[in-house]
C-alpha cells in the first residue's frame, strides 16, 4: 500500500494525471462542439428538405385542390423512407398521410414546430413512439397540412458519438493507469537501486558507484555526475589516508631521532659546549621536521584543489627567469653552469606562488643531484607549442632509470638511499600536484638519451596554454 502511495507521489505519475485530466476535458468539449455543429447542420438540411417538399405539395394543391393534395400525400407516404405527412381537418382529425397519432397541439400553430414532438406511425403499436420536427401550413379552407421528419436517427447518432467518447475516455484512463504503473515502478526501482548504492557508500564502501544503465536519460545523467563526485571524494580520501600513512612512517623516524638526541645530551656529562651543540642540532632537526610537515600540508591542500580560488594571470616568463636568476649564483658556487632559455611573453592562468615553488623545487633538485658530471649544466627552459606551455629543468647528471621514474614523484620516495643530501622527499610530489592543479602533467625524460653514462634528466611541467 505504501508502495502504491510512493508510486502515486512520483513526478511522472503526477504529471500524467494532470495531462490526462486536461486531455479528457478537451476531448469532452470537442465532442460537444462537434455534435452541436453537426446537429445544427442536420437541422438546416432537414428544414430545407421539408420546405422543398412543401413547395411540391403546394403546387399539387393549387393545380388540383384538396383531392390532388391528398393523392400526392398518399403516394409520397407509401414511398420507402418517406418523410412524415399529415392532412387534418380544422378539428384536428387526421384524414390522410402516414401518421397514426400526434402529440396534441402540434397542428394548432402554423410554421415550424419549436420543439421535437412525439407521434405514432401507421402500423405502430400503442406504446411505440417516435420524435419528429415538422412544418405546419394552414390551407385556405381551414384544413392543416403537415410535412415533417423523424429525428430518431439524429439522436441515435448523437448517442453513438457520446458512447464512443465514454469508451475512448475509459480506454485512455486504463492506458494511463498502465503507463503510470510501468513508468512509476520503473522509476521507483531505479531510485531504489540508487539509494541502495548510496547506503553502501554511506557505510564506507567508497569504491561503490551508482548504477548507470547507458540509456542516457536523466537518471543516468544524475548518476554519472554523482559518480564523478564520488570519484573525486574517493581520491581526496585516498590522499588523506596516504598523508596519514606518511606521517606515521616518515615523521615518526625523525621525531624519534630528535628525542634520542635530547636524551643523549641529557645523559651525557659533557659541559656547556656539547649541550649547546646538541641543542643546535635539535633545532636543525625540528626545522627539517617543520619543513616536511609544511610540504605535506601544502601538497594535500594543493591536491584538494582549494587553492584554485587564488588563480590569476601569471607571467610565466618572468617567473621562470626570476627563479633562474635566484639560483644562478648558488649553482655557480657549486661549479654548475645554469642557463635559461625562456620564451618571452608566456602568460597562463594559475597560482603564482605555487608555480614559483614548483619551479624552485625542480631547480633545487637539479642543483642537488646534477653535480656529479665533469661539467655539470642545468638549463631552465620555457617554450610554447601547439597550445601547450612546457616549463622544463634539464641537467646532464646521471638521470633516473626509466623504471624508477614513477616512484620518484611519490611522497617520501628518495632514490638516494643513503639520504646523504638534505631534503624531504616531497619536492616532486608537490610539483606534480601543482601541475595537476593547473590542468597539466609532469613528465620525466632522459635529457640526452644518446649519452649512455650520463643521460641527464629532463623534468617537464606541461601546462595548458592561454585560451
Amino acid at each position: 500500500m505504501s508502495r502504491l502511495r510512493a508510486m502515486l507521489s512520483t513526478t511522472a505519475v503526477r504529471l500524467s494525471a494532470l495531462y490526462l485530466g486536461l486531455f479528457a476535458l478537451c476531448a469532452i468539449a470537442l465532442v460537444f462542439y462537434v455534435t452541436a455543429i453537426s446537429e445544427g447542420m442536420q437541422r438546416d438540411r432537414t428544414q430545407n428538405a421539408i420546405a422543398d417538399e412543401l413547395r411540391v405539395v403546394a403546387t399539387a394543391y393549387r393545380r388540383s385542390g384538396v383531392a390532388g393534395l391528398v393523392r400526392v400525400i398518399e403516394r409520397r407516404s407509401r414511398q420507402p423512407g418517406a418523410n412524415l405527412y399529415a392532412i387534418a381537418m380544422p378539428t384536428g382529425d387526421l384524414i390522410a398521410g402516414n401518421i397514426a397519432a400526434l402529440q396534441p397541439g402540434v397542428l394548432d400553430q402554423e410554421g415550424w414546430t419549436t420543439l421535437p414532438f412525439r407521434y405514432q406511425r401507421n402500423g405502430d403499436t400503442a406504446d411505440e413512439q417516435h420524435r419528429a420536427l415538422a412544418q405546419v401550413v394552414f390551407l385556405p379552407n381551414g384544413m392543416r397540412l403537415m410535412v415533417g421528419r423523424d429525428i430518431g436517427e439524429r439522436e441515435q447518432v448523437r448517442g453513438l458519438v457520446r458512447q464512443a467518447l465514454v469508451i475512448a475516455l475509459a480506454i485512455m484512463f486504463a492506458g494511463a493507469l498502465a503507463i503510470w504503473f510501468f513508468v512509476g515502478r520503473r522509476a521507483l526501482k531505479r531510485i531504489d537501486h540508487m539509494s541502495e548504492a548510496s547506503k553502501k557508500i554511506l557505510a564506507g564502501d567508497l569504491a561503490q558507484r551508482l548504477p548507470v544503465n547507458g540509456s542516457g536519460d536523466e537518471f543516468d545523467r544524475l548518476s554519472l555526475s554523482l559518480n564523478a563526485m564520488l570519484g573525486r571524494i574517493e581520491r581526496l580520501n585516498e590522499g588523506l589516508r596516504q598523508v596519514s600513512d606518511n606521517i606515521a612512517h616518515d615523521l615518526k623516524t625523525p621525531l624519534t631521532r630528535l628525542r634520542n638526541r635530547a636524551e643523549a645530551a641529557l645523559a651525557g656529562d659533557g659541559g656547556g659546549d656539547s649541550h649547546r651543540e646538541a641543542l643546535e642540532q635539535m633545532i636543525a632537526d625540528s626545522d627539517q621536521l617543520i619543513r616536511t610537515f609544511n610540504a605535506l600540508l601544502m601538497i594535500s591542500r594543493v591536491e584538494s584543489g582549494s587553492s584554485t580560488a587564488q588563480m590569476s594571470d601569471v607571467d610565466l616568463s618572468g617567473l621562470a627567469s626570476d627563479a633562474a636568476e635566484l639560483y644562478e649564483p648558488l649553482a655557480e658556487e657549486q661549479g654548475i653552469r645554469l642557463t635559461a632559455r625562456i620564451e618571452p611573453g608566456v602568460t597562463i592562468r594559475g597560482n603564482r606562488e605555487l608555480l614559483a615553488q614548483a619551479l624552485s623545487n625542480l631547480i633545487d633538485n637539479a642543483v642537488k643531484y646534477a653535480d656529479g658530471g665533469e661539467t655539470p649544466e642545468i638549463a631552465v627552459t620555457l617554450t610554447r607549442e601547439r597550445g601547450e606551455v612546457r616549463l622544463a629543468v634539464t641537467d646532464n647528471g646521471p638521470g633516473i632509470p626509466p623504471d624508477r621514474r614513477e616512484d620518484v614523484v611519490k611522497r617520501f620516495v628518495r632514490l638516494d638511499e643513503s639520504r646523504s643530501k638534505p631534503g624531504t622527499g616531497l619536492g616532486l610530489s608537490l610539483v606534480q600536484a601543482v601541475a595537476a592543479l593547473h590542468g597539466g602533467t609532469l613528465q620525466l625524460h632522459d635529457a640526452s638519451p644518446e649519452d649512455r653514462d650520463n643521460p641527464g634528466l629532463a623534468v617537464i611541467m606541461v601546462l595548458p596554454g592561454e585560451k
Binding site: L326, E333, N351, E353, Q357, D364
Partner: protein, 225 residues
C-alpha cells in the same frame, strides 16, 4: 619600544614576553580577543603581535576593527595556517606582516623591530646612507666613497631593502619576501650566495665592512663599531 601580544597559549606568551624583554622591548599581554582589543584601543603601542585563532574573538576581526577606528598600529599576525590564501586574507584584513607557526624567535623579533620602527617611515627618503655607502633611489645609483658601484637590478633591490632597514636585523625569509616576492622557503639556502656577491661588490675594495651576518638570524647593514 612597547608592544602588545595577544596570544591565548600562556606558555607561548610567557616565553615570548621574556624573550622580547631580554631584547629591550616592553611587553603587554592579553590572553583573549576581547581583552586584546580593549588593550589595543586604550593604549598606544608600537606594534601588535596577534594570534589568529583566539578565544572570544578572532584575531583578524580585532585588526579589522582597529583599522576601522583609524588606528594604524602595525600588526603582525601569527598563525598555524600558512598557506597562500591564509596569508592573503590576513593581510587583507589589515595585518602588516604574517608569520606561520612554528617560527624562530629571531625571525619574529626581526620583523617586530622593523614594524615597530616603521612608524617613522623611510619610504619618503630619496637617499639612503650607511657609512660612506650611498644609494640614490631616484637615479638608482650606488656610490661608495663617491665612487660609483654598478649593480644588477636584483642586487640593487637587495641593497635598497637592506639599507632601508639599516641597523635592523633582516632575515633571509624577509629578503625572499621583499626582494623576490617568494613566500616560501627554498630548500637550499639561495640567499647567502646573493649576499656574498653583493658584499664583494660593495666591500671588496673598501675598508670597512657594512653588511654583517648576524648568526642564527640574518643580516644587518651597519656602519662603525
Amino acid at each position: 619600544m612597547k608592544i602588545l601580544i595577544i596570544e591565548d597559549d600562556l606558555e607561548t606568551a610567557a616565553y615570548l614576553s621574556k624573550a622580547f624583554r631580554e631584547a629591550g622591548i616592553t611587553v603587554d599581554h592579553a590572553s583573549d580577543g576581547d581583552s586584546g582589543y580593549f588593550l589595543a584601543s586604550e593604549n598606544s603601542y608600537d606594534a601588535l603581535v596577534v594570534d589568529r585563532m583566539l578565544p572570544k574573538r578572532d584575531g583578524l576581526s580585532i585588526i579589522a576593527e582597529l583599522r576601522g577606528n583609524g588606528d594604524d598600529t602595525p600588526a603582525l599576525i601569527l598563525s598555524a595556517l600558512g598557506q597562500v590564501d591564509d596569508r592573503v586574507t590576513g593581510l587583507r584584513a589589515g595585518g602588516d606582516d604574517y608569520l606561520t607557526k612554528p617560527y624562530a624567535f629571531s625571525e619574529l623579533l626581526a620583523r617586530i623591530e622593523i614594524l615597530g620602527r616603521r612608524k617613522g617611515g623611510r619610504d619618503q627618503e630619496t637617499t639612503y646612507r650607511v657609512g660612506d655607502l650611498e644609494l640614490d633611489r631616484l637615479s638608482h645609483e650606488v656610490r661608495r666613497a663617491g665612487q660609483p658601484i654598478p649593480l644588477q637590478p636584483r642586487e640593487y633591490r637587495l641593497l635598497e631593502y637592506l639599507m632601508k632597514n639599516a641597523g635592523q636585523v633582516v632575515t633571509r625569509t624577509m629578503l625572499l619576501e621583499h626582494v623576490w616576492d617568494y613566500h616560501f622557503d627554498p630548500q637550499t639556502n639561495v640567499i647567502d650566495v646573493h649576499i656574498s656577491r653583493l658584499r664583494s661588490k660593495i666591500e671588496k675594495d673598501f675598508g670597512e665592512p657594512l653588511l654583517r651576518t648576524v648568526r642564527g638570524a640574518g643580516y644587518m647593514m651597519k656602519a662603525g663599531g
